[in-house]
Symmetry: C2
Subunit: 405 residues, 2 copies
Amino acid sequence: MPVNYIEKTAAELPEIEGVRLFVAQAGVKKAHHNDLTLMMIDEGSTVGAVFTQNRFCAAPVHIAKQHLGNPKGIRVLVINTGNANAGTGASGRAHAVEMCAAAALQAHCQTEQVLPFSTGVILEPLPIGKVMDGIARVIPCDWHTAARAIMTTDTVAKAAHRRAQIGNHHTISATGIAKGAGMICPNMATMLGFIATDAHVAQPILQLLTEEVANASFNCITVDGDTSTNDSFVIVATGKSKQNQIDNIADPRYAQLRALLTEVALELAQAIVRDGEGATKFITIQVNGAACTADAKQIAYAIAHSPLVKTAFFACDPNLGRILAAIGYSGVNVNTDTLRLYLNDLLVAEQGGRAASYTEEAGQAVMKNSEITIRVDLDAGTASGTVYTCDLSHEYVSINADYRS
Amino acid sequence: MPVNYIEKTAAELPEIEGVRLFVAQAGVKKAHHNDLTLMMIDEGSTVGAVFTQNRFCAAPVHIAKQHLGNPKGIRVLVINTGNANAGTGASGRAHAVEMCAAAALQAHCQTEQVLPFSTGVILEPLPIGKVMDGIARVIPCDWHTAARAIMTTDTVAKAAHRRAQIGNHHTISATGIAKGAGMICPNMATMLGFIATDAHVAQPILQLLTEEVANASFNCITVDGDTSTNDSFVIVATGKSKQNQIDNIADPRYAQLRALLTEVALELAQAIVRDGEGATKFITIQVNGAACTADAKQIAYAIAHSPLVKTAFFACDPNLGRILAAIGYSGVNVNTDTLRLYLNDLLVAEQGGRAASYTEEAGQAVMKNSEITIRVDLDAGTASGTVYTCDLSHEYVSINADYRS
């Protein structure tokens, strides 16, 4: 059960002109489940993408990076779930190229115009025969069906839609889907996230936009601190809104579009945390008054990754010294005397110790909520950073102890 | 139940001449349990100590660092369990000094000649009245009783003894105790560790020796990656063996004594992992062929801290791609094509993928053991590093969700 998240219906996820979706039951994940997705993109669209920083990045990540630079443009995204095609060496890379070739055949384009994505178990050979058969048998679908078809340990499909006026005369739409629940500590993007918009954006500008949106969304979440081998985040801009192209970042529409897409991406990223493996609580960690953004995020991630903090939240136990300990070992040179720690609006600690006004009962009352904000004021500058995470429960251990069985 | 560790009996823990131990039931932890320990040290002894790097270090750590430099030498260590006196601000520091004053009264020395140590819950005021009463009522005890009296969530007392010839004519003894089971990722030392030896060592040399021993023992373990606010490790050298003093590191006895004390410290450090909260397996992570020791340790710690790796070991599931993923996000620039991964002597992965000779059955067979070595050969140099850790089980979540109740 995700924390305060209800799956979007198909009606809440409008199509984006210039994008067509397809799925198939390839039998990679399990029988009688859609596990193969194609996103076909009209000619003239642009695509931005960011990928995992994991050195053991998966075969499809290698191939997608190569194909992204192709001057003819991207026409298809092909995604399988059930197997990550990671830790699979040279044969894995050959399989990723075969996936692209099969998808290219369907879309009447070239192999280099396809980006491949895989998610699922690592270090097992991709059953390429099943994937190829699946690609040959895809049928059209809506965004909701596609969101379901990319799930692994997810318990709900994650999707989001926004619409806003960009520039003076045009309404721009964006619809996105994402998957992920464990092995979540994106270092460029989440496990898999795809957003399509009908905005009209030049390719280098869209690439920059994709990086900025990822930094403000998927790069602010963690479930377990494990950065995946397959993280990929893609924005497709079809240009079907018939606006003039946005071809520089000084164009005021750049910031407007960034705001629109960040809303979609942040909703998807938060949905991943809400559906974090075993999650019972959604925790926002806000660090203010830092000397720089990197310091703020480093402290927020130290708190977010502490198994002791996470189990205390699971237990609704205001054992808040564990938060101070995590701040203390974060590696940032904090002044423990000026730092203030809040739980929602409740002042917990100041001057290196428990606040005089703090009571165990007040702390307990906050801990019982399903959504809690930990706020740290450092009094060392004006930078801030926010990270979203969940608690650590018995269910997390159960899910990951039994993942492959 | 610790993993393959049997508590030492009192008879297995010989006294060290020049050291006297005392305990009391102060009622800080719970009623009718020893929770207050004094170690009195004869005049003329030297003391080396290393402390946590946590910026929120506890009040007793502040005071112990101040007192350690005192030219009259250290005569008493005073240790309470049940409350860490951390995150307690200025009043916490005053309490730590009061503990020292009370202990000094017992030992007929000055307050500055006492090192205070606390362990237990963070962010709660130390019940100083109970501590003071306890110090006034201590009774003599043996090493086994002292090892039990410093426990918190430990399920067994940790103690070790070694004896060896140092130099040509003298047999040197060392007996040590330690506590710790959770919030274990020492960044100078463990939660608390104390070793006494009858060797005769000049103070600056003993300080260096203490740092070297900590690096080869307590700084090689992790349970949950949470560096405590109270980590402290102390070596007391009473000089009662009547050897000439070791006053430089070129003295061949320096390396001999370091080997002896490292054996004691490593046994204590490994006992902490074996008794790690919820541990069902003892895991050694050995990284060889690294460009430098720091790289080797960074990779070993990335594997040791991965919740996904730890839950797979708990489940005896050879989901070994998770180890590759952890190596990949460790931050070390590894060559994934030349790297080899072994489980005990079983080759699991090479050339970026699963080894041709590897079978799931063989992996499964190794995973069923209670002691497992993960070996990574990087083929990037000649440096190596080893880290000891345990798995992540339901019991870890239970212990830490219920810690204060």
